[in-house]
């Protein structure tokens, strides 16, 4: 499909919702180069900042130091977008379908309020992964975010539906005010996970420090978790058999909220 290479290191952020496979479909290279971007406070064209070439694959590939390029893959609906390096804030925000693969780190608000599709981040994610924008009642609603590294604060906060899997550690308030959906954290959970949790599931594979408003229920093998892990394995996310077949301690909470949510903690014994 199309390859984009950033021409130079950006001094100020470049904002563009143009970089999606949907936007490039059925457009000539000249038309793609004419798509609008905002550089600092100036309106410009995509071609001013990127070398644009066709490639032999079905993917859109973006190269360069994109840590200051915001909204890559935002609102995309289909296709595959590969970012070869770091990406800036709001990557895949409000996306509805397709797949984004980021081979480096991503900034804050990646997958914010997404409604479908898959984001696979091979590095670290910033704050507010899959979160709701301020003032908005709901965050991520359907879709999958896979983060191979660490994630910042408020990962999955106010999530309504969907699945977030984080291989590394998370910052504070992971899954805060979760409405539903599932967050798996294979590293260490930061402080106050699930604060204000209504429904939904946070799965901790390392012993977390829980708020006192979570009540212990039992140790058991949740059948649905196998379903999710099976799905993750199918997406190329390896999961150890001990997690797959293991016992989990169930805590109901947050009892200051609806209290119909849960934190499942992998039981090593």
């Amino acid at each position: 499909m199309i390859s984009l290479r950033l021409k130079e290191v950006l001094a100020v952020p470049l904002e563009t919702e143009a970089i999606t496979p949907d936007n490039f479909q059925d457009k000539s290279l000249a038309e793609i180069a004419n798509l609008p971007v905002v550089y600092g406070n100036q309106v410009a064209k995509l071609g001013d900042f990127f070398e644009i070439k066709p490639n032999q694959s079905d993917e859109v590939r973006v190269e360069g130091d994109l840590s200051r390029v915001k909204y890559i893959g935002s609102k995309m609906k289909q296709g595959t977008l590969v970012v070869e390096g770091d990406a800036g804030m709001h990557l895949g925000a409000q996306m509805r379908g397709g797949k984004i693969i980021v081979q480096g780190n991503v900034g804050d608000w990646a997958g914010a309020e997404m409604r479908g599709g898959i984001i696979h981040i091979w590095g670290n994610a910033g704050h507010a992964l899959g979160c709701a924008y301020r003032g908005s009642p709901r965050g991520m609603n359907k879709g999958v975010i896979l983060c191979e590294g660490n994630a910042g604060n408020e990962a999955g906060a106010t999530m309504r539906r969907g699945l977030i899997a984080i291989r590394g550690n998370t910052g504070d308030f992971t899954g805060a005010f979760l409405i539903a959906g599932t967050i798996l954290v294979f590293g260490k959970l930061g402080a106050r996970p699930g604060a204000g949790l209504k429904r939904g599931t946070i799965v901790a594979f390392q012993p977390p420090t829980l708020l006192p408003t979570f009540q212990y229920d039992c140790v058991y093998k949740p059948a649905f978790l196998r379903l999710i892990m099976q799905y993750l394995r199918g997406l190329g996310w390896p999961i150890e058999d001990e997690y797959f077949n293991g016992y989990y301690r169930r805590y109901s909470g947050d009892l200051t909220a609806l209290g119909k949510g849960e934190i499942l903690v992998y039981d090593q014994h």
């Binding site: 539903a180 058991y220 059948a223 649905f224 892990m229 799905y231 797959f244 119909k260």
Partner: protein, 299 residues
């Protein structure tokens, strides 16, 4: 014209099969034993719609299940689209949800769906939780043993019921052996079940009776003990007849099942393979024995 396979006469006739609605349910459990236990209970007393309201059977064991545990695939059939959800609800509720460690999944990717987990969830009395994974919703119903996991919707499709063939043998021993061989071969075909005990029926019926309160009665034309007093269909030397009834998710599966079953049943001591029909007046499908076997294998 009669033709022969392996020395057994294949009568130039057809099985008359009917439109039904069918579904496939996957039951998983902690191990094979408990998956089979639930599947056996769920498909129990489901031999004929005449007396059981549905027909069902175990299709096969499944390794590649949604939750990665040992599983069993079962097929269910009812005459009407409205009946199928009722029967599945009753049976999943009473035989699968009650069985330790089981989970229940949709096994049929079809546009028509029935809400099963979406109804059974109310057993959770408000404590049920849902999970939406890969475009499918699942319900987690808290039970004393832990949690019962069931998919919200299960697919259903137009299907075929009442495929059949009759094995006419010299005595019960050889007829039963031929029937068992046929069923074993037919179990390898996907999309079909043989709903009767061991897949075999000894009391085939006709659709009338001298008693007004009965809609079906014994198939006297194939009863060896009545050969001398009714218009018998039995050739000389036949002293026992067994029938294999086939329900399938489509006609092709029923035909393939008939083909492998008939071929397996043609052993020494079997005189004829026939099939039950109503002259083509009632059923929507006709499975012609000679046609499904193929001219090339018949002499």
């Amino acid at each position: 014209m009669a033709k022969y396979y392996n020395g057994v006469e294949i009568e130039d006739t057809f099985a008359e099969a009917f439109k039904m609605w069918g579904t496939r349910v996957i039951i998983t459990a902690i191990n094979r034993k408990w998956a089979l236990e639930a599947a056996t209970k769920m498909t129990g007393f489901a031999t004929s719609v005449i007396g059981c309201k549905c027909e069902a059977g175990i299709e096969c064991e499944v390794d590649d299940t949604p939750d990665g545990r040992p599983g069993v695939s079962v097929l269910f059939f009812t005459p009407s689209k409205d009946d199928l959800p009722k029967r599945i609800m009753e049976r999943v509720g009473q035989t699968v949800m009650t069985c330790p460690t089981t989970a229940c999944f949709n096994g049929l990717d079809a546009p028509d769906k029935m809400k099963i987990g979406g109804q059974l969830r109310y057993f959770g009395d408000g404590y049920q939780m849902s999970k939406y994974i890969q475009g499918r919703r699942y319900w987690r119903i808290p039970v004393m043993e832990g949690e019962f996991l069931i998919e919200e919707k299960i697919g259903m499709q137009r299907s075929v019921g009442g495929g059949n063939f009759l094995i006419l043998g010299e005595n019960i021993e050889v007829t039963l052996e031929a029937s068992e061989r046929a069923v074993e071969a037919m179990k390898k075909v996907r999309g079909v079940v043989m709903p009767f005990p061991g897949g075999i029926v000894r009391s085939g019926s006709k659709t009338r009776s001298q008693y007004k309160f009965l809609i079906a009665s014994t198939n006297d034309a194939f009863c060896p003990t009545l050969r001398g007093i009714v218009k018998s269909e039995l050739p000389e030397g036949v002293n026992s007849v067994l029938e294999i009834v086939i329900d399938g998710l489509d006609v092709a599966a029923v035909e393939e099942s008939t083909r492998v079953g008939v071929m397996a049943a043609c052993i020494p001591g079997i005189r004829r393979i026939s099939a039950g029909n109503y002259g083509g007046t009632l059923g929507q499908f006709q499975v012609h024995l000679q046609k499904v076997l193929g001219e090339e294998v018949l002499t």
